[in-house]
């Protein structure tokens, strides 16, 4: 009853999938399995329709989508899905399998994520508790495995869930740290500096935003990963499924392209070519200059963290 509401052939579609998943061994009936597939389909149908309706409202909702859904289901990780859902339902054998397959992996994953034994143990244990569903709601164990839908591998899902938990848990810490880092780089001062001094910056910002907005998501992702998150080329390449050298080439292309786009944007905002180039090049130095002048002006009142910034800017000045 894989219910594409318009066709009755859902059961035929689901039967071979059910057989393939091996869900029967974990005590999941064909009906339950079809219901799971149904639920997953509904979830992703609503998500994709939100997007696709914008692009192709003419997409026929009938036969094509039924076939599409069948293909979609066949592409799921059925075996791991069956295991996860059977675990969530509390099947003993499923749990045994799950433990023998993933328990030790959970611990090494946690160590990889936290890079610290104590945190790793804590993280792995709390995730395991979530997976097992310690908190019972309405007499039903509330297992996190209910949310696994088989789009990616179960192991990858576990890693992602763990990473999410890690980020959630240590977000506060991380925020503080990154704020400090930002302050040290001096970037935060761009906003803090009074506007009149940087009259030209308004145009520069606008031009930059425009240039960034023109980028594809993938390009912007690459830029952010490389320049903001300081990921390695290898990591970015793995995430995007590309070769490392293509990421490197893309970054080169993006950097030059951005520069060109910003310059063009500045000129449309009324700057001459030379002015635009100067604005782009001198922008950062301007910041530093003004900072330094500010720092020297009220050096008597300089607090310790401020004075620390002076050498930092000096070094980056030399490089840029």
């Amino acid at each position: 009853m894989l219910k594409p509401p318009q066709s009755g052939e859902g059961a035929d579609v689901a039967a071979p999938l059910y057989a393939r998943s091996g869900a029967a061994a974990y005590g999941v009936t064909a009906e339950q399995f079809t219901a799971i597939l149904d639920e997953i389909l509904r979830k992703y149908r609503s998500q994709s329709s939100a997007k696709s309706s914008v692009q192709s409202p003419a997409q026929s909702p009938a036969r094509a989508s039924a076939e599409h859904e069948a293909a979609f289901c066949a592409g799921l990780r059925l075996e791991e899905l069956a295991l996860a859902r059977a675990c969530a339902a509390g099947n003993e054998r499923a749990w045994q399998d799950f433990i023998s397959r993933y328990r030790q992996k959970l611990h090494s994953m946690a160590l990889h994520i936290t890079r610290d034994a104590a945190h790793a143990a804590e993280l792995a244990d709390s995730l395991f508790a979530d997976l097992y569903g310690v908190n019972v709601r309405d007499g039903v164990r509330n297992s996190k495995l209910m949310f696994y839908t088989g789009r990616g591998s179960l192991e990858g899902w576990l890693r992602t869930v763990m990473a999410q938990e890690f980020i959630n848990r240590y977000r506060k810490q991380k925020r503080t740290v990154s704020l400090e880092e930002k302050t040290e780089e001096g970037v935060q001062f761009a906003a803090a500096v009074p506007a009149p001094v940087y009259a030209s910056d308004q145009r520069l910002e606008a031009a930059t935003d425009e240039a960034l907005a023109e980028l594809s998501s993938e390009d912007r992702f690459t830029l952010a990963s490389y320049y903001l998150d300081e990921r390695t080329l290898a990591e970015i390449a793995r995430t995007l499924g590309l070769h490392e050298s293509s990421v490197s080439r893309r970054l080169d292309r993006l950097a030059t392209g951005l520069r060109r786009r910003i310059l063009a944007g500045l000129r449309t905002r009324g700057m001459s070519h030379a002015q635009a180039a100067e604005a782009l090049e001198t922008d950062v130095r301007d910041l530093r200059l003004s900072l330094r002048s500010r720092l020297t002006q009220d050096s008597s009142a300089t607090t310790f963290p401020d004075s620390r910034k002076v050498p930092a800017q000096d070094t980056s000045d030399g490089s840029g």
Binding site: S100, R151, T160, K182, E205, A255, G320
Partner: protein
Amino acid sequence: MTEVPKIVYDRLRAAPPEQALPDQALQDEVAPQRAHPDADLLTAFAEQALTATERDGVLAHLALCDDCRDIVSLALPAADLVPTPIAIETDASRATASRTPAPRRSGFAWPSLRWAALAAAVVVAASVLVVRSGRRDHATLLSKVVPQVAATAAPNLTQPSASSMNQLANATVNQPATVAPTDEAKLMYELPSPKKLKAGKAPSLPIQGRSVTALLDTQNASGQTATLSAAGSAPAPLPNSPAMDATTAGARIMGRSSEAVEVSSEAVAVEATPSADDTLVARNDALPIEKAKPAPQESGANAVQMAESQKAALQTNSAVVGAASPAVAGRNVTSLVALTPASRQAPAVTWMITAGVLQRSLDGGQTWQNASHSDHPLLCYASYNADVWTGGQAGALFHSIDSGITWEQVRPSIKAQALSSDVTHIDLHGPAEIMVSTSNNEIWASVDGGKTWAKK
């Protein structure tokens, strides 16, 4: 790498997802970007398993959400980060190639149990023949068969009736490395004599999966055994088979006749040995060689037949054959010994690190025992059949070649440098190739089982 203007950093950073996007072009995509993609989508994204539309949606979010970028990055598989995917050197590419077929430790799988059931049935049939044909010199026969069976089972879980034997078995199990062949004789000497069994004292066979604390804790297996031996003996034309009563719940087999005891203990031996470590298996095989000669012709012939059939049938679980049939067959030991190396293919040992202590399970994760004693908390491990490596804080690195019974500390060093930081990851590619990653991003590698090391 071309630098981008600082303003780009600034503006890239300045656009958190909740902030309204300045440009019209992005307005359409704002809605899907708002909600963080769930773990499924992120995983599928990293694994390149999304459709183009979905992928675009996730990317659009990731481009603006540093938290989600962090998650994706953190969730990248650890192993793949160590050697970059495009490593050209042959070593690394070989390593990546050999990583994929790493054996999955899956505990006690059903398929192997099915073969074990077959093996148990064969053993039952064979032993019935043995018992029947040798009825004239029943006592002599039993005196040969039973001690052998018992000796085979000795490192395992079952001993007929004598609680002292359980202790002895425990002792054997706890110090398997120190049990010399001479000790085996003593072991057998202390076995209850066949006459005792024959006297119908209702010897019970407590299968002590729970109480045996060391290596051979196969609680799971013993439960199965009870069923198996019961099932196996039911159709067999044993004179006293109705007396044999197997209750799976208690995992306790009561045998009233010596035959029944014999059969079931063999079945137990069949069942329990696969989880024995290799040294034990090897010893079980070696033992009957000496005892083989006096075995009667008939049993020898049967054994040949049996060994042949099992050889064909039990490729994955040949340890079962190797351990079980010598007890009955004796004669055919050579062919059986030839089979045992295959037993290395089926390790039933599962490992886990809890609170810095390496733990071992022999029953697919039901019960765990501490397997190592280290001053420093352990952080990671890797195993390749009976070969186990584990590492921990402050350069602790241990190696065991016998599934964790004995450990040897390994101290990799090159010239003046030694491994001293925390070991965070160990990769084993086969028995001799080891890669150890540390918390300060050192990689130590050895290709000769840890004798010499190279640092990368």
